[in-house]
Amino acid sequence: MKRALPSDSIRLLIPALSLTILLIAVFYLQPRAMSYVGLNLLFNLAVPIALATIAQMLIMTVNDLDLSMGTFVSFVACVAATFLQATPVIGVLILVAAIATYAALGVLIHVRTLPSIVVTLGMSFVWGGLAVLILPAPGGHAPEWARAVMISRPPLVPMAIIACVVIAMVAHFVIMRSSIGVILRGVGGNARSVERAGWSILGARAATYALAAFFAILAGISLVGLTTSADANIALRYTLLSIAGVILGGGEFTGGRVSPIGAVIGALTLTLAGSFLSFLRISPDWQIGAQGAILIVVLGLRLLLNRLENREKRS
């Protein structure tokens, strides 16, 4: 029986390839980036984005979408820069309550069969409002430990790269390898059959949302660790960046087809695309549009590959 590469590997091929090409292009334009400091500068902002992308990917695993990711990460950043730094106990309590809220949202969305887009869009205003209440003006201080982790300089490989690899590995283990992750992805693939096997879809959804909130909180804290202070609007772009990162990394909106490694690569690609355009000296006015163009090219490539794959399957 002839079997080509498993479809999961093919799925990872395009994101890995596009990241490599972008990286080569960046090195070509700016050879000085090819150094310890250069790589760290290129990628350190990718760490919070990668974490937020993993969070979004978890939500997408159960066929939902979180439109409050950006405001939630902003909210966490504000909490981290104020309560978590000044009164750690209260800070931790707030973050635990945020995780519980996410789990409750998962329950609400499942029980009332509400569209997750509507619920999370509504929640984005709640998170945004709370963030403004906590930090009406930009300010606050990053907790020392978060700052220390983010600016640490391990030997040989920059912190940003190590962090991204660790994030990818942990997420891969939880989602792709563990026996619980199988159930979560099963809910996205065919909720009915998971239910028929005696599992609680409600519990699976709540767990997924709570886990997503956990990763989003890590994103917020690592972001504050990099920027040293916070702002209520600090991470608004993350909603769309995280969705784009998941899709770029080979994930799909429905069907439980996700890839944590791909999602991290997608987040790296998006970050790198910004630097690439700066190195090209494209004016900031055009950068968002150019970033969109890169996205369209990569997704177009994937569509092409999917079509080839389907044709092969049919023949």
């Binding site: 498993p6 479809s7 026996s179 199988v182 065919n190 028929r196 096997a197 599992w199 069907g255």
Partner: protein, 488 residues
């Protein structure tokens, strides 16, 4: 027979009643499954097979009646209790997660497969079971299910159901397990079922291929209209007596049939035989054509292909050649937020428009005319569509299709859940429209409706296996064609 009462039934359902709205899906069904027997379950569409299966696997609680496992009454019976008692089910529609690998699907089905090394254990369990049931299957347990063929998925599902992890497997329900397997694989499966039964397991076996039922079962239960009509050892049946048992007890009044002479006419709709097998499909002006057979054997696909072949292209002329009446009102029938009138006229907006603008007076005239003609029970056609009862909503959908100039109307089981009075009204309208020369292609799961048709194509396994005309359109002939082994 005397030894049987001594053994405790694996599962015993007593006097189960289930109703969905006005429809009685189960009307007092009692079923005892003993260890070491294979029970064949047969019946036509809507007989209640799927419902009793869902009651036994815990997915559906009967509104009345009791369930006992191994002699113990189970007041709180559900999916978890069923699985704990060793009840497994292979569903008719494939129910694996396509995004997971074979191993991971095994994990989903077996709660206790967890902890370190679960992948190796799962791979061994599913691999061994696949080898045991389907030697030489060639399925890679690490492969993603979405990449497998339909037959391979079915094999995985069957092997998963029979594989034992923590609780012993006592009863496996196989709902049309051979529908996507070829003859060799089906033989392997049936052989395994027999050896499973001989070692003390029980199987409920549902199939539309009566040969399989007769050769594999110890006992055959025939259901009809939510009741068990016959329950006898398999040896007392042959194919003809089984078909007879599934037929109606009361002889329905058969309408006078008109057989049209169609030779030499050009068909209004035609389709060559599906997948190169079976009979071709043809429909002539003024005919009511029925599509019969068990649900899901290719009837809806045929309708959709007929429709899409004549619409849905940007390059075609705007006049509709065919209209479609959907069966699932909520899913693809009504526009729930619109008024009755807008729902009615949507299919023929080009005919009501002048230079791209819909003429409101013309629209109102059409609405009024059809309201009177088919007696939509409402004060005002401007009311929202959801203010109507289900049957009246369905009438609006009929009016939507009939108000178009389309000479052919395709109907995908449109009478589901419609009360008998409305049905009679619609039947009369159909007949009147057919007399005016319209063609109707009617897929129905109800025998009474199929018998109203002038000509009937019977589907089996995705192909047309029989064409019945005029007085040959009888329940007996339709049942025989839809249950006989499919033409190879």
């Amino acid at each position: 027979m005397t030894a049987i009462p001594l053994r405790k039934a694996v599962i015993e359902v007593a006097d189960a009643k289930v109703s969905f709205g006005a429809v009685k899906a189960l009307d007092g069904v009692t079923m005892r499954i003993l260890p070491g027997e294979c029970v064949g379950l047969v019946g036509h569409n809507g007989a209640g097979k799927s419902t009793i299966v869902n009651v036994i696997n815990g997915g559906l609680s009967p509104h009345q009646g009791t369930i006992a496992c191994g002699g113990e009454p189970m007041p709180r019976y559900g999916i978890a209790a069923a699985r704990a008692n060793g009840v497994r089910c292979v569903f008719q529609e494939l129910s694996l997660c396509p995004n997971l690998t074979v191993i991971e699907n095994t994990r989903v089905m077996h709660r206790t497969l967890a902890g370190w090394g679960w992948r190796q254990r799962a791979a061994r369990i599913i691999g061994d079971k696949l080898d045991e049931i389907f030697p030489g299957h060639g399925i890679d347990p690490t492969g993603v299910v979405g990449d497998l063929s339909i037959a391979e998925r079915q094999m995985v599902e069957i092997a998963t159901a029979f594989s034992q992890v923590a609780q012993p497997v006592k009863l496996v329900i196989l709902d049309e397990p051979t529908s996507s397997l070829d003859a060799t694989l089906a033989t392997q499966l049936l052989g395994y079922v027999r050896s499973f039964v001989e070692t003390g397991g029980s199987v409920i076996f549902i199939s539309h291929i009566l040969g399989e039922i007769l050769s594999t079962s110890d006992r055959i239960v025939v259901m009809k209209d939510g009741k068990v009509v016959t329950d006898r050892p398999a040896g007392e049946f042959d194919e003809h007596s089984l078909v007879a048992a599934m037929g109606s007890v009361v002889k329905g009044r058969d309408q006078e049939k008109r057989v049209k002479e169609t030779a030499g006419l050009t068909p209004r709709l035609s389709q060559s035989s599906r997948r190169g097998k079976g009979l071709p499909f043809q429909a002539f002006p003024g005919e009511i054509i029925g599509l019969a057979g068990l649900g899901g054997h290719g009837q809806t696909d045929t309708l959709v292909n007929l429709y899409l072949g004549r619409t849905g292209s940007w390059f075609r002329r705007p006049e509709a050649q065919v209209a479609f009446i959907a069966g699932d009102r909520a899913l693809n029938g009504v526009f729930p937020l619109w008024s009755i009138l807008k729902n009615l006229t949507i299919a023929d907006l080009p005919g009501l428009s002048r230079s791209g603008i819909v003429s409101e007076p013309a629209e109102a005239d059409v609405g009024q005319a059809w309201k009177e003609r088919i007696e939509i029970r409402t004060q005002n056609v401007g009311n929202p569509i959801l203010s109507l009862s289900g049957g009246n909503q369905q009438k609006v959908l009929f009016a939507r299709a009939l108000a178009t100039p389309a000479p052919a109307v395709l109907m995908d089981d449109p009478m589901r859940g419609v009360d008998i009075g409305t049905k009679q009204e619609v039947y009369a309208i159909l007949r009147a429209e057919a007399d005016k020369g319209r063609t109707f292609v009617w897929y129905s799961t109800e025998m009474d409706e199929v018998r109203l048709c002038d000509r009937v194509y019977v589907f089996n396994n995705g192909i047309i296996v029989a064409e019945l005309k005029g007085d040959d359109v009888t329940e007996k002939n339709i049942l025989a064609a839809s249950f006989m082994g499919a033409a190879a």
